[in-house]
Amino acid sequence: MTDAVIQVTDLQKSFTGKKGARTAVLKGVYFEVRRGEIFALLGSNGAGKTTTVRILSTVLKADGGSAQVCGYDVARQADKVRERISLTGQFAAVDGMLTGRENLLLIARLRGVADPANLADGLLERFGLAGAAHRRADTYSGGMTRRLDIAMSLVGSPTVLFLDEPTTGLDPEARLAVWQTARELADGGTTILLTTQYLEEAEQLAQRIAILHDGRIIANGTLGELEELLPPAKEEYVIRRPTLEEVFLAIINAQQGGVAGQGGTVWQGGAAEQGGTTRQSDAIRQDATARQDGATMQSSATRQNSAYPDRRAVL
C-alpha cells in the first residue's frame, strides 16, 4: 500500500470524430498523486487534460488502462470514488436560476450534509459571496461564478479535489484568491489534481508537475526536476536580444491566444527568472499580460469549439 491517492495506469481514450474516424486522445497515461499534495497536469489546448479529469471523476469511461482514486477503481467502484471526490470542471457548473446560497444548499442536500444552511452560509462568507448570497447566480461576474463553483465543490469536504483549469479567464486578483484557497485546502490534507496551461500556475501551487503531450506524460516530477530537463540552450535565449520578427511573433501569438507557443513562452519565462532581477520581473509582468489576453481569448475560443454536448452527440 503506497500513499498514492490517485493512481493512473496506462489510461487510454479515443473519441469518434465526425467522419467516424477514431482519434486517440490518451495513449497510455501513467501518473500517481500522493496524499495531501497538489499535483499539476500541464498541457496545451486539446492535450487531454479535461478528458483525464473526467475519467478520474467517473464522468467518462476510459477505453483502456485503469485508474484508482482512494484505492477504488473509477470504473468498477464509481460510487465509492464519488463519495470521496469533487469535480470543478473547466467551465463553472452552477445553476444560474438559483441564488448562490440555493446552489450550495442543493449540493449540500444531495451530499447529505448534516446542517446544509450553516455550511452554505459559512462557504458564502469564506468565498466573499455573502453579499450576493440571495442573488441569482446568472447575475454573477465570471470571478464570482468561479468562486461559487469552487465553493460548491467543497461541500461535503472531499478527500480529493479535481480542479480543471480553475483560473482560466480570471483576473489576477481572482486568480490569487483561487490559489490561496487551493493552498489552504492542501494544507488541510485535501489532495488536489489541478490542470493548467500555465507553468506559472503549476509552479506556484504544485509540489509535482506532469506534462501531458500528445496523449502521454512526457515529463513528471518536482519543478526542480523538470527544470533539469530543460535544454541548456535556455541561457542563450535570455541573453540574446529578440529580433523584430520575434517580437512581432510574440505579439501576434499573444493576441491569438498563444496556443501553439504557450509551452515555449512559459518555459522562457521560467528561464528568465535566472537572469537579473529587473529583467525577471519585467519578463514575468509581460508574460502575465500576454497570458491574460491569451487566457481570455482561449476561454472564449474553447467555449465555442468545446460545446461538449455537441461532441457527445457524435459519440
Binding site: 469511461k61 464519488r82 470542471g89 457548473a93 436560476m97 440555493e102 442536500r109 457527445r312
Partner: protein, 249 residues
C-alpha cells in the same frame, strides 16, 4: 431511499426553475388555448360533430398542449448537460436515475398545471363534460401516461441534441399529429389515405377515449389501443433514453 431523496431534491430544484419562469407554463398553455378559441369561434361552425364542438375539441387541445409542453423538458435537460451541471451531478454520489426522473417528474407536474389552465378556459367558453369522478380519474391517468410517453421522447432529445433549438424541434411533428387525427374533425370526412393514417396513429385512439370518458360514453376498444400506444412509446423511449444517457459518459 437514496434514489427517492435525490430525485426529490433535484425535482425541487427544477420546480424552482419553473416558478421563476412561469412563462414556460403560460406559453405552453396559451397556444393550445388560442387554437381552441379559433376553432370554437371561427372555424368550428363549419365542422359537424355530435354534440357541442367545444366538448368535441377539448381532448385534442390537451394533447397539443402536452406535445408542446415536453419541448421545455428537452430544453431544460439540454441546458443541464450543456452548462456542466449534469457533469457535476454525475461526479457526485447521486443515484444516476434520479437525474432523469427529476426532469420527468417536473414535466408531469408542469404539464398537469397547463392541463388545468386549459380546462378552466374551456369551461369558461362552454365545455360541459358529464364525466363522474371515476371517469375523470381515468382521463387524468391517460393524460399522465401520454405525458410520460412523450416526456421520455423529450429526454432522448435533450440528451442527444446539439443545440437548444434542436432539442425542442422534435416536438413540432408531435404538435402536428392531433391535426391529422379525430381531434378536430371526424376522420370520416378525410380522403382515404389520410384517413387510414389518422385512424391508426396514437392520437386518434387517445382522443376518442378521452372524449368518451368526458362525455360518459362507453370507451369501447379505443381505450385498449390508447393504453397500448402509451405504454409502448414509454417503454421504447425509456430504453432509448437510458442508452443515450449511458453514452454521455
Amino acid at each position: 431511499m437514496k434514489t427517492l431523496h435525490d430525485t426529490g431534491v433535484l425535482f425541487g430544484r427544477l420546480m424552482r426553475h419553473i416558478l421563476r419562469s412561469p412563462d414556460t407554463i403560460i406559453t405552453v398553455a396559451i397556444t393550445p388555448i388560442a387554437i381552441m378559441l379559433l376553432f370554437v369561434f371561427v372555424l368550428g361552425g363549419a365542422i359537424e360533430t355530435e354534440g357541442s364542438y367545444v366538448n368535441y375539441l377539448v381532448p385534442g387541445i390537451l394533447l397539443i398542449a402536452i406535445a408542446s409542453g415536453i419541448a421545455y423538458t428537452a430544453l431544460r435537460l439540454f441546458a443541464d448537460v450543456k452548462n456542466g451541471l449534469f457533469e457535476r451531478f454525475q461526479s457526485m454520489p447521486i443515484k444516476r436515475t434520479s437525474l432523469l426522473w427529476a426532469h420527468v417528474l417536473t414535466s408531469l407536474v408542469s404539464n398537469a398545471v397547463s392541463m388545468v389552465l386549459i380546462i378552466l378556459v374551456a369551461l369558461a367558453i362552454g365545455f360541459r363534460p358529464s364525466a363522474g369522478v371515476l371517469a375523470w380519474l381515468a382521463v387524468a391517468g391517460i393524460l399522465v401516461l401520454f405525458t410520460l410517453a412523450l416526456t421520455w421522447l423529450a429526454v432522448i432529445a435533450g440528451l442527444t441534441a446539439r443545440s437548444a433549438e434542436g432539442s425542442s424541434a422534435f416536438s413540432y411533428p408531435l404538435v402536428f399529429l392531433p391535426f391529422i387525427s379525430s381531434a378536430f374533425v371526424p376522420t370520416t370526412t378525410m380522403p382515404a389515405a389520410v384517413r387510414l393514417f389518422a385512424e391508426n396513429q396514437p392520437v386518434t385512439s387517445i382522443v376518442n377515449t378521452l372524449r368518451s370518458l368526458l362525455g360518459s360514453q362507453p370507451v369501447g376498444s379505443d381505450i385498449a389501443i390508447a393504453l397500448a400506444w402509451c405504454v409502448a412509446i414509454t417503454v421504447v423511449a425509456y430504453l432509448c433514453a437510458m442508452r443515450a444517457y449511458r453514452r454521455l459518459g
